[in-house]
Amino acid sequence: MKIVIEFYASLMKYLPPGGRRFRRDIKVDEGLKLKQLIEQYNISDEEAHIVLVNGHFVALESREDHVLVEDDVVSIWPPVAGG
């Protein structure tokens, strides 16, 4: 199935080639869990500080059970702040 990954700021280095800026369309297996996706790109728990699926925050402890579905948008940031 197709999903969209968005790796921002310093995590852009983990993006596969192709696509634009921080966004890539990728194919994954049905039933893939969020934690598995993050591990596939070798992003550590410390780096995956803000993780959104379709704009909704998913806490570290919930990622193992979170099953991704077709057209999900997964957005990941390291610890960031500003203001």
Partner: protein
């Protein structure tokens, strides 16, 4: 010294400069900078006074840590009664001016009265003198800085001044120091202009001494720096990406207002984000972002130094803007960009240069322009009013043209200088002003992020994220994540952020340290530098005292609980799409509890018991 124990009182009506002992009894309760200067203002100024009248005072104040070895300790604040709001105003700035004022031997400068002609103040250590400023009146802040540096031939001289926008009466004009740093909000620059005070030039060579406990100070400041360096936000994220890293985050979580807060979510956000600033452009292969920069003593270095594409329409015939200068920060990029619907990074960067060059607040300006754009699209404002500008959302050309009018207050620029509250009232659409107490919102929508709405509503200087940055917890998970659309626990969160911020703003430190530091990192640095007991508990109590003192000033100025409110749009018009679809701000669920935990009456007034507890 932590405190120099000395203030400079400048009577602009009489043309005198007088040295005066700092009130150390007050310093032990209010620390310095925001707290201590607000105490002076509260004691010396009638809260009901005309902010632009001679009876108002303007104070430039440092904190006890300003100029010391503590990281980020270069801050100073400008405190006055603000013309945009009529409330107490305190605008904080970095750069190098604050530390230099301390090196010259002064904790603060109090300006009172009004000069009958343009003047500027020169401080060279103990010597202070008012000089004729007629040759710099009418000049931009950048020109003023250059002229004074040429006059005194001292590159180490630090200058804080106003530009033409303040002279033109814009109600949200800033005080600019070191060309690129600003005491930006609430119109403190407008007050400076009303006194015919163009600039303050300072040079100090007395250094810093008299730290209360030198060994403990070095130990605590070294430890603090290690924490900042090791923290992912302050050690890596902020120096590399700056505050602009938030553009995609806040848009992603459904918290980015757009089009005068008519919408939440901006399709062009990524084009004006930190990631976009780092991309090579087609014309010359260089990115918008040139490098990062730091203020005095800062080990974070979050500042952005940028260039505009020389082929861009805004600057192609203006070579004076082809060099690198202060670049976009998040709040400015949001107000100038998402709120006006403009996603042209070069246009935003150019206008941000103008904000620095002539001194005006990009947040209030962007929001005011956005309100004007909405009224233009509704047919309330026409090209007759704008002098022919098609003031449509998303038009970079209209955005640039309108800004150039604002700078000198020409034509429609005079209207834009009123701020959104007065502008919307003038055109009969007061409900379109996105403001609290007359000051415009920063870059977080209170419908999608509940706690920041309570903070905006209760902020003592009108809508402001820097009075209690609950976004850190509600979105960014610092220090712990709370649910952004919940109201439970938010009154407590807001109070904690507001009180801690008041203390940090009174110390001489930058609030960005608190992304890594807790009060247990901050209090030991203050305690080592200053006499007295500055334990964590006492620091937090001082913060609470300062917050309540500001509240009492506003109360005496005529503000009531009725002013602790949000625009109807944010309470009744639900977010139309995205992850926060359907949300409105639920202020009514939070405000009574907030009053209760603050020890205020249901009418929002600090009770006698609270005032006694805080020695107010």
């Amino acid at each position: 010294m932590s405190w120099t124990r000395k203030l400079l009182r400048v009577d602009l009506s009489k043309g005198t400069c007088t040295s005066e002992a700092l009130n150390m009894d007050w310093a032990k309760d209010y620390l310095g900078q925001r707290g201590l200067a607000s105490k002076y203002l509260s004691e010396e100024v009638d809260p009901k006074c005309d902010p632009l009248g001679a009876e108002n005072k303007l104070i430039m104040a440092t904190g006890p840590l300003t100029g010391t070895m503590a990281s980020t300790a270069g801050r100073y604040s400008v405190i006055t009664k603000g013309p945009l709001t009529g409330a107490i105003a305190c605008s904080n700035s970095g750069g190098y001016f604050g530390a230099e004022l301390k090196f010259a031997g002064w904790d603060m400068v109090i300006f009172e009265g009004k000069s009958d002609k343009p003047v500027y103040l020169v401080i060279q250590n103990d010597k202070a003198e008012l000089c004729d400023g007629s040759h710099i009146w009418g000049k931009s802040a950048w020109e003023t800085d250059d002229i004074l540096h040429a006059t005194y031939q001292d590159p180490q001289m630090r200058i804080a001044c106003i530009g033409r926008t303040a002279e033109a009466g814009c109600l949200y004009a800033a005080v600019i120091n070191d060309k690129h740093r600003a005491a930006g909000r609430s119109g403190v620059g407008t007050v400076m202009a009303s006194k015919n005070l163009k600039a303050v030039a300072v040079r100090g060579t007395q250094g810093i001494g008299n730290i209360d406990n030198v060994d403990a100070f070095f130990e605590s400041t070294d430890a603090g720096k290690a924490v900042l360096a090791e923290n992912a936000v302050t050690g890596q994220g902020l120096p590399a990406f700056g505050t602009q890293v938030l553009m995609n985050v806040i848009n992603g979580v459904g918290g980015l207002p757009a089009h005068n807060m008519r919408d939440v979510g901006f399709a062009g956000a990524e084009n004006i984000s930190a990631e976009a600033m780092a991309e090579p452009r087609t014309s010359d292969g260089k990115p918008n972002l040139t490098t990062n920069g730091a203020c005095f003593g800062c080990t974070i270095a979050c500042g952005r130094i940028s260039t505009v594409d020389k082929t861009h329409f805004s600057v192609k015939d203006k070579p004076q803007y082809h060099g690198a200068s202060g670049g976009l920060e998040y709040e400015a990029a949001w107000a100038l960009g998402a709120d006006t619907g403009v996603d042209d990074l070069d246009a935003l960067t150019y206008v941000n240069f103008l904000c620095n060059e002539d001194g005006f607040d990009p947040i209030s300006y962007g929001s005011t322009l956005a309100a004007a754009m909405e009224m233009f699209e509704d047919g309330v404002i026409t090209t007759k009013d704008t002098g022919g500008i098609e003031l449509k959302f998303g038009s970079a050309e209209a955005f640039v043209a309108a800004t150039e009018l604002l700078v000198t207050g020409e034509g429609f620029g005079k209207d834009l200088g009123l701020g959104s509250k007065r502008l919307c009232e003038k055109y009969g659409r007061p409900e379109l002003s996105m403001s609290v107490k007359g000051q415009e919102f920063p870059a977080y929508d209170p419908r999608g992020i509940q706690g920041i709405g309570l903070n905006y509503a209760t902020s003592n200087r009108g809508a402001c994220h820097l009075r209690g940055y609950t976004v850190a917890s509600e979105v960014l998970g610092i220090p712990v994540k709370t649910e952004q659309t919940d109201t439970d626990g938010k009154p407590e969160l807001v109070k904690a952020f507001q009180d801690a911020t008041a203390l940090v703003d009174s110390a001489g430190l930058c609030i960005f340290t608190t992304f890594a530091w807790g009060m247990d990192n901050i209090a030991p640095q203050i305690d080592a530098a200053c006499e007295g007991d500055w334990s964590v508990d006492n620091c937090l109590e001082a913060g609470e005292r300062i917050w309540n003192m500001e509240r009492l000033f506003n109360q005496a100025a005529g503000f009531t609980a009725d002013d602790d409110k949000l625009p109807k749009r944010l309470l009744e018009e639900a977010i139309k799409s995205g992850p926060t679809e359907g949300q409105v701000n639920r202020l009514g669920e939070m405000l009574p509890k907030y009053y209760e935990i603050r020890g205020w009456s249901p009418e929002g007034e600090p009770t006698a018991e609270t005032r006694q507890r805080l020695s107010l």
